[in-house]
Symmetry: C2
Subunit: 213 residues, 2 copies
Amino acid sequence: MENKFFTEKDLENLLGKEDEKKTSLNIIPVGISGRHVHLSKEHLEILFGKDYELTPIKNLTQPGQFASKETVTLAGPKSVIENVRIIGPVRSKTQVEILTSDAFKLGLKPVVRLSGHLEGTPGITIIGKKGTVVLDEGVIVSQRHIHLNEEQGRERNLKNGDVVKLRTRGIRSAILDNVSVRVGDNGYLDCHLDQEEANALGLNSKSYVEIVR
Amino acid sequence: MENKFFTEKDLENLLGKEDEKKTSLNIIPVGISGRHVHLSKEHLEILFGKDYELTPIKNLTQPGQFASKETVTLAGPKSVIENVRIIGPVRSKTQVEILTSDAFKLGLKPVVRLSGHLEGTPGITIIGKKGTVVLDEGVIVSQRHIHLNEEQGRERNLKNGDVVKLRTRGIRSAILDNVSVRVGDNGYLDCHLDQEEANALGLNSKSYVEIVR
């Protein structure tokens, strides 16, 4: 499999060979994220009205998560980005995930963080149909990470909070450091990269990468 | 220097220590490229008029190369991108360098290639002030590469056509495979990455990377 992408077929082939089971367990699919917003219930109501509920239009790979019909406008000191998708359901805290190029466009410092680690991150103005929210912090560039459930973690000898490396294939192949492991009750097995990381590595949503330690 | 970017100061510090000379020789600056177009004389004249000459507005790091005042529009099957900078001087063959995200936007397949290797690459329509050129091929996503001159190559035991790896630092650090070495008479020492690669690695135009083999 040198010098090309892992495909779903490669994985099928590998999974058929018992002696390559260990290798195949470490080969996992890629999930690619673009810019999006998670909203608290409070902020959703300011932006769209009291008791407003998001309208799911597409389920995402992580169970329970969905892309909603609703979008917002992000306004930074330098410019705005329209039609930014809201990911539901609502969360305890509002979080805006953008690409590094979005940060430059908006006039914000790109700060790479895991989801939920918002201390000291830039703020932004979020504009909805019915109102505006001014955040003091909460804008991150997503730090790459692997999602899996308890059993998948045990099979791979990985636990929540571990940091591993990833090997990718193809003409833009690389070994990526600092990949965080997030083990959750119902995590769907994949590695989350943002769109710029995927493009820089020549990966797409059908690609696979290999966990190395 | 673990876990942060190389800065110009890091390099100065390293260069001051004779016993780290070998390491320091392998630490080189990053040059970041966005989308741009190189034009043949023939195509420049179709796009801007007979005997037209490009107007330099900024010299680039590679000697003799400049950003010109003039821009063009790129039109693909799916959409257009306006205000794309022309890099002068004219070349023997027209070449369009875009980001992977540009390829998706335009509706083209992103094909990663070194400059000048255009066989089998997608075509595109280029629109200028006075005319339009329809290219059958010539659109590439730039393959990362290192520029240096003969003496810098000798010092580092690198020759034209070599392929090395690069180590980067910081929270998005990685080891990049398939980095081509281009030794030229008057090459300026740097490593060319495109804007998406730089963003994905957390690098900027003041960053340094390390050649590893």
